[in-house]
Point group: C2
Chain length 460, copies 2
């Protein structure tokens, strides 16, 4: 077998990169659980008819077939899920009788999309989602809470070197109310045009609004003026009100949306100052959002696109008798981690769990080394035993190559064991019943690259 | 959308079941890391030609196609991995220049097999693998170490109610040497027949040996006598030697295998007494094993089949210049967890992370409740806030329905906050800066079902 080459769009990490990813996942999970979200995991496959209910994504679905099947029936079969929302909606319907609503769940899994890979876009990637779903109704305050949970989760990652984030929020009711107040009733067409602002600029969007959304020059310009409003305090609400008054727009839905958006901005300014910004150009193409919508950028890496998006949807699922409204956000973990590793923002202090390599004096005495390793592990210290009873210099080099900071030498003929810090060269007597490495050395840690916290370099 | 029905062979758990699975995965991960295994994750897909290298499993592969492809090219495409060994071998070859050998890795991921689902067999399931792989060579002592790591991992699960395990070990060299010493040179045919012992019984296996493996009545009977030997101390080695002498069998490979098997049994009797049993009928159908082979049964649930299997393979991978031998075992996590849940052996003390529900006096004062929740979370206590400012009785019932043990009431007009244990009804003054629940109540725990540790029942 020749050396295989990576598959484009299917990211994999070396062990030190996987440590970064695992740490990010652990921090997210802990933050979600501190906020009372229960973890679930759904199967990777869904019936194709479920996956294809939305038109736009249908082309990206990977279809499964069994090798021994005569031919692939593309209508009756199974496909890999392309997000975690469709499976969650199905899970809620399937298990509604066993869940307590409002149901708070997080879900961290891989998803697959058969699209052309490019920077920050993968065909297989990990998402971390939180949603709250109600049975019949879901109060607005969850639309305030959920982006703040994500702000807490992403904020907790700053200590390892993740840049600060900015969560951009808007409210569908504001946009829809304003457009309708201008006489533009094809709201989806307006949203689709506005969604292209960052890509094609205001002039071309104005032309699109006229061509596709039934706008005239004046109303197109008003839409662009609304989209230009942003801010992190309630002044942004006043600005929208002033614009609406100026354009002669008066609409109940607009008022309702502004009240909601104002409540979100106000709460965010207390609980996550500077993180949440109302940005009236955030449109989110998907037509099932009915209230708040969210996008999130890494400050300094805005061109990466949103790393955490979502919104409110009045109908996450429905079984006819009951409708389940929800609000949720999804972190693109692979996109984030790939940037952290690719841009060298974070690193692991070592690539193996072991804090200690127990040296082996002779193969006949390997059992003694195993015994010391077992005693250290019983006290929570990660340990491995040397692969062979080579000369001690070679065993130390083995530890060094793997980034293991300590080598343990067994005493002979009644002398004490000794442990050597191979970075400083310091070697001291040690008892496997009491010795501990420093807290910094116990487990590999994930740290900002610029922090100088590299054990291998401490004495160099 | 009507209520969907589960897909056979694709297990999913309710939140309390997922807590059990997550706990099992956490314990396995921690044990593997304490033993110095680095975690990796590989993509879910591999090129089909890689997946189809082994004949027997080829029929079970799920093939991927993109929905917009005109037709499925079943020879050039991608398939879902059916185990974690094939992807690991590919990963080692792809990244050999970046890995330090012997490379110790664990890998916990889903795998997919398009086979007919039945009890304990799934089409999508989680495996937890450990392997050590060397570049060019790999000393025998790893064949002793790896089953003992699995014994430690599975043993650590006993405190949540997982039954003890018995790891059955054999050595290919013993079997092959014995068969060759009997004049039976089609070793694979003998192994395939012996592998059916539990299913069809000794008489039919004897007939198979004669029909398929070139045995006569006498040598067939000798094979069955070898397969009948088992034991957890070195007496088993003596028994094999006595049988060989009795049958006039003398073979170098047999001697080498017996020395290895003896070393494993001896080490296991010290480090995991009673767990490892040499069982000469363990054959493992797969022809790439070249030394030790392992199977593991849950005591009292033997009919479930092996929950942890593996062995030594001299050629895990090869790039022409270097051959990579390995030894590894794989836990069938879904099979294990499904039995734990299905047989009611274990349970979670509650199904949500939250230890506390903060009550809401009025929607206008929700911010005060949010603030208390934030203060408790900052001290590591999982908390959620009541969904609505309903009457307190209703808020308490909401906590009760979700299994949340404590409800927090904010003080009014300068009086202290209070916290109520809704199981005992006890309500006391509490300060969000210092109050803590008992360690047992802080997070949901996974416990043996018979332990009576059910918070909801403590005062009942």
């Amino acid at each position: 077998m020749a050396r295989p080459t990576p598959l484009s769009g299917f990211p994999e990490w070396l062990p030190d990169g996987r440590l970064v990813e695992q740490h990010v996942l652990d921090v997210l999970r802990r933050t979600f659980e501190l906020h009372g979200f229960a973890g679930i995991e759904t199967r990777a496959v869904e019936p194709l008819d479920q996956l294809l209910r939305k038109g736009e994504t249908s082309k990206e679905v990977y279809v499964l077939s069994r090798l021994q099947e005569e031919e692939v029936d593309r209508t009756a079969g199974l496909g890999l899920h392309f997000d975690l929302t469709v499976p969650f909606a199905r899970y809620v319907l399937e298990n509604a009788g066993h869940l307590a609503f409002p149901f708070r769940r997080y879900q961290i899994q891989k998803v697959w999309r058969g699209e052309r890979p490019q920077d920050g876009r993968f065909r297989e990637f990990v998402q971390a989602d939180i949603d709250v779903v109600g049975a019949g109704e879901l109060p607005y305050h969850y639309e305030v809470e959920l982006p703040l949970v994500m702000a807490a989760a992403l904020g907790a990652l700053q200590e390892i070197g993740v840049p600060p984030v900015r969560i951009l929020v808007n409210n569908r009711k504001v946009a829809e109310g304003f457009y309708r107040g201008l006489g533009l009733d094809d709201v989806e067409a307006v949203l689709r045009s506005i969604d292209k602002l960052d890509k094609i600029g205001p002039e071309k969007v104005a032309a699109l609004l006229v061509a596709d959304a039934g706008a005239d020059e004046t109303s197109a310009r008003a839409c662009l003026e609304l989209a230009a409003i942003s801010g992190s305090d309630e002044g942004v609400i006043d600005a929208v009100r002033a614009l609406a008054a100026d354009k002669g727009v008066s609409n109940e839905l607009l008022d309702e949306g502004l009240a909601e958006l104002g409540a979100l901005v106000r709460a965010a300014s207390v609980r996550a100052p500077g993180v949440v910004v109302a940005d009236l150009k955030i449109a989110r193409g998907l037509d099932y959002y009915t209230g708040s919508v969210y996008e999130t950028v890494l400050v300094g890496h805005e061109q990466l696109g949103s790393i955490c998006s979502g919104g409110r949807y009045d109908t996450l699922a429905s079984d006819g008798a009951t409708t389940y409204p929800g609000v949720g956000l999804s972190i693109g973990v692979s996109r984030l981690v790939s940037r952290l590793i690719g841009a060298g923002l974070v690193r692991a202090t070592r690539s193996v769990p072991s804090a200690v390599l127990v040296a082996v004096g002779s193969e006949e005495a390997r059992e003694r080394s195993d015994e010391v390793a077992a005693r250290l592990r019983a006290r929570g210290i990660p340990v491995e035993v040397a692969p062979s009873a080579a000369k001690f210099g070679k065993q130390i080099r083995h530890a060094d190559r793997r980034g293991i900071p300590f080598v343990w030498f067994l005493g002979e003929d009644g002398t004490a064991d000794q442990v050597k810090d191979i970075r400083s060269g310091e070697q001291v007597d040690a008892d496997p019943a009491v010795w501990v490495p420093s807290a910094d050395d116990l487990w590999p840690r994930v740290v900002p690259t610029g922090s100088g916290e590299d054990p291998a370099r401490r004495d160099g």
